[in-house]
């Protein structure tokens, strides 16, 4: 604690003098913060993400094969798989289980389409008090909107480029 105060005091004095954030001070402060930020366990985090993410993809392939055995075309079966994954993830988010899984697996559940589904429902539930239209309806897209806007824009640009090239 005393160390912290010692380091902060000269910073404050300098900032009051110049008012503009001093670059050296910010650098020093960043280094100071770095000492206390716990280093993430890169290897174990990556391993967990790898195993969980891989399992989700393998499970998706299993469901797809089951559906294709029943005579669905590859495209329809793929759509069913996406819908099943999305709905499962959203239900789990509703029950509050997804956060627990997410804490363990990290990117393992956020990079597959399940993370996209979670990013829609989670903020929507939080803003329920603001009403069903402007609360839930609007916040459904507070995170997913960014993904949709960027993705759709890029796809439209790609489509136009391909149309003019060929």
């Amino acid at each position: 604690m005393s160390k912290k105060q010692q380091k902060q005091q000269p910073q404050q004095a300098q900032q009051q003098q110049s008012k503009k954030p001093n670059k050296e001070v910010t650098k020093q402060y960043e280094q100071y913060v770095k000492q206390f930020t716990p280093k993430p366990k890169y290897f174990s985090n990556s391993l967990k993400a790898f195993v969980v993410g891989g399992c989700i993809c393998a499970a998706a392939l299993y469901i797809q094969n089951l559906l294709m055995d029943k005579g669905l075309s590859e495209k329809t079966a793929g759509a069913y798989v996406t819908v099943i994954l999305v709905c499962t993830a959203q239900l789990l988010t509703g029950f509050g289980v997804f956060d627990t899984i997410g804490k363990f697996a990290g990117a393992g559940v956020f990079v597959p389409i399940t993370g996209f589904a979670n990013s829609m429902v989670a903020p929507a539930m939080e803003y329920k008090k603001e009403g069903p239209v402007l609360g839930v309806g609007a916040k459904l897209f507070s995170l997913a909107g960014a993904v949709l806007v960027c993705g759709i824009t890029v796809s439209a640009i790609i489509g136009m480029i391909y149309y003019f090239i060929k």
């Binding site: 993400a49 392939l61 996406t82 819908v83 999305v86 956020f110 329920k128 459904l140 439209a156």
Partner: protein
């Protein structure tokens, strides 16, 4: 063997995401955006198609697969005219998006947020 490749490629993509979150200051939504856009651009250059052929769901289930579906729809539509080129991306992902929006809305209306355990 299909399952092995699906597991491997899907896992690798998640590891890339995990490393991006751990080592850089990118937040999770930014990582999602980067993945989708990267998937779409890789598809446009024709580099994502071989991965999908090899790993199937291992490549389509992670978010670059969403970008792949968007770009693929647009590229297929480009053969049928300008309007199809613009609408193709959404057409190809309509089922998943509609499910995510419709079902997500219902779930968010029914459930209340739980405190984290």
């Amino acid at each position: 063997m299909d399952y092995f490749y699906a597991f491997l490629i899907g896992g690798i993509m998640c590891v890339i995401g995990q490393i991006l979150i751990d080592t850089t200051k990118l937040t999770a939504p930014r990582v999602l955006v980067i993945f989708v856009v990267a998937g779409a651009i890789l598809t446009a250059f024709g580099w994502y198609e071989p991965i999908v052929k090899l790993a199937k769901n291992g490549a389509t289930v992670p978010l670059p697969g969403f970008g792949y579906a968007l770009a693929k729809g647009a590229m297929d539509g480009a053969k049928d005219g300008f309007m199809a080129a613009i609408s193709g991306g959404l057409k190809n992902t309509a089922a998943g998006l509609t499910a995510a929006i419709g079902f997500g809305y219902i779930v968010a209306l029914i459930f209340t947020p739980k405190s984290k355990r």
